[in-house]
Structure formats: C-alpha cells, structure tokens
C-alpha cells in the first residue's frame, strides 16, 4: 500500500473509532454534548475526504479542548493512542517535506510496535507477572473485570500463569514480526484477538477500535523496513 493510501486508511479508521467514542459521550453529561457533536461532524468530513486536511487540524485542536475538559485522557491508554494517531496523521498531511511526512507516519507505526514491546518488558521484569500472581490480582480485585463471575478466574492459577507468559512472550516478540510481512499479519491478527479478549473481559472496547485503526501505519512501516 502506498504512503498516501496508508495515511488515508488510517485517518478513516481513526475517524470511525472517534465517532464511536463520541456517540458514547453523547449519552453522557449534557455539558459535553456540543463538543462531541462537533467532533462527530469533523470525523464525518475526514471519512468523506472533504476539505482535507483541515478537518484533521480541527480534530487535533479539539483534542486539546477535550484534554483540558477532563484534565487528561478520558480513558487512559486508548485515548493516548488515539491522540498520537491523530497528531501523527495530521502532521503527515501538514509537514512540507515528504521525508518529514514519512517520519511522522513511521513514528506512529514504531510507537504501535513499542506499545506491545514495552508492555511486555515492564511485565517480564516484575516477579509477580512471571509467577502469574499479577494476572490473578487483575481478576481478583482490580477495577477491570466486567462481572463478579470473572473474578473466579483468580482461582485458576495455572491457567493464569500460562496466560501471563503467553501475553508477555507475544508482546516481547512482536517487533520481530517487522522482519517478514506474513509474520506481521499473523502478529496483528493475534494482537487483534488479544484486544478483543480485553474488550470482552475488561470492557476495554476503545482499545480494540483505536489499536486496530493504527494497523495500516505499521503495515506501511514494515514495507519500508523490508526495503532496507
């Protein structure tokens, strides 16, 4: 896929993810609805391709208003990835030189890779992750399991030990998938299933859509790595 097509696909998927989030906010406090109505309109313009790149610029500026409103990201990591993607794609349009545009978009793909690798690295140095206790704690008392029934998983230490190592090894190995396109595609399928499981078990639906929306950036980056 060309640079232009990859950027275009990323911005469309990101806009759709932001529309999903914005619709959820429209069901929230009345004072936020005008902000998110504007965001939905700007996202629709991004999807349609009209007036490009100015709707992206508008979304980037609006993201500052929303950060101020909630004194930070509303939903932690998923919003951070959405912000990163939005600003990288916007810069990929606005920067005057093609090399800088490629750098901005490549940075997004690189950060996606790092999002897995660093998550694995910080876990594997923690003995409680290595013996499965950390994942037991996630199920036993963290705020994330969507039902009380899921807390019973904490009583399955062997299963959680296996899951802990599966997650850590996958996250640590993910950068190697950049070396071979079929491996990357397989890695992204596994990662997508991982995000799907997190969405079902922990209610992290925003992670699912936001991370998937960045996949074109890493596919483009891998093609550049393959040319080296």
């Amino acid at each position: 896929m060309s640079f232009v097509a990859s950027v275009r696909l990323t911005e469309i998927l990101l806009a759709l993810a932001l529309i999903q989030q914005s619709l959820e906010h429209m069901a929230g406090p009345r004072r936020d609805r005008a902000t998110y109505a504007v965001r939905i309109a700007l996202c629709a313009l991004v999807v349609s391709g009209l007036a490009s790149p100015w709707p992206l610029v508008g979304l980037a500026l609006l993201s500052l208003v929303i950060l101020e409103r909630f004194q930070g990201p509303y939903n932690g990591g998923s919003d951070r990835m959405g912000l990163l993607s939005l600003w990288c794609v916007t810069l990929a349009h606005l920067l005057p030189d093609a090399r800088w545009q490629h750098l901005a978009f490549g940075y997004l793909g690189a950060q996606l890779t790092l999002s897995y690798f660093i998550s694995g690295a910080v876990k594997v140095v923690n003995p409680e992750w290595r013996d499965g206790r950390a994942l037991r704690d996630v199920f036993r008392f963290s705020a994330y399991p969507v039902s009380e029934g899921l807390r019973a998983w904490a009583d399955r230490p062997r299963v959680l030990l296996a899951m802990s190592w599966a997650v850590m090894l996958f996250e640590l190995a993910f950068p190697l998938t950049l070396l071979w396109r079929p491996a990357l595609i397989g890695g992204l399928v596994v990662a997508g299933l991982f995000h799907l499981a997190n969405a079902c078990l922990f209610g992290l639906n925003r992670f699912f859509w936001t991370w998937l929306s960045v996949y074109p950036a890493i596919l483009w980056l891998q093609a550049q790595v393959g040319r080296l």
Binding site: L83, S147, A199, N205
Partner: protein, 142 residues
C-alpha cells in the same frame, strides 16, 4: 500551556500497561437527610453484575458508555489520592448525582468515599483513603 502539557504523554507515550497491579479504588456513596448527618449507609457505586452474557459483551464492543465512564471515575479516584483537585471530586459527585436523579424522593445530601482494595499476602485489605464533604444533590448539575 496546560493542554499541551497534557498532550505530551500521548505524543511520547510510556506504554507501561499493568506493570504493577496497584491498589484498586471503589467509589461508595451515602445519602444524607441533612448536611450534618453522619454518613452510615455506604453503597458501592455501580456494582458490577454477577454475570455478563456473550451477547452483551459483543454489544459493548460498539456501545459501552457507562463502563467507560466508570473507568474514567477510577482515573479520577486515583488522581484524588495522587494529586487532589476539585475537578476529580466534582466529576465523581456529578456522575453519582446523575445516576440518582431518577429518584427525587431520595435524601437530598450526597457524600462519597474512596475505598482502595489491595492484596497483602493472600488477604485482601480495604482502606478508606478519601471522603468527600456532603453536597446537596440538586446543586450537582451534569
């Protein structure tokens, strides 16, 4: 400058998801007949259901506003302990008040507290680390 300061961690992210399993906050609220009444009947705000079906899980992929709002309140609760601000307290109060707005006969004063759950050995320890002053529910507009 404040929004740019908030943007920076997104542009240079750390990605240290779940590196340690920190004490986990629970938001609990009490309704009071008067501002000076001692809060006694603490109830968990939005307790999770016993079970969630696969159909509901699938639906929540596209529509999960209340859960995402609850996760935002977890962030507010953690901020209230780490770097207390009126903003975090107001966000929690206003959302509890909004959920209770359907019951106009409920007592008019509202307070909340944050109970943090952590593991020590094999035991789970619950500790109250914050309690708000009572606020009149009708004043907590969304």
């Amino acid at each position: 400058m404040q929004p740019l300061r908030l943007l920076l961690p997104a542009l240079i992210p750390s990605w240290n998801f779940f590196d340690v399993i920190a004490p986990s906050p629970r938001v609990e609220y009490a309704l009071l007949g008067a501002e000076t009444a001692p809060p006694e009947d603490w109830r968990e705000f939005r307790p999770r259901p016993a079970r969630v079906s696969l159909v509901t899980m699938a639906r929540r992929l596209l529509w999960n506003p209340q859960w995402n709002e609850s996760l935002f309140l977890v962030s507010c609760a953690e901020r209230l302990i780490d770097q207390p601000t009126d903003h975090s307290e107001a966000e929690i109060l206003s959302r509890i008040a909004a959920d209770l707005a359907g019951d106009p006969d409920a007592p008019p004063w509202l307070a909340f507290r944050l109970t943090f759950v952590r593991r020590e050995g094999e035991a789970l320890i619950r500790e109250v680390l914050f309690q708000s002053a009572p606020r009149r529910r009708e004043a907590l507009v969304r």
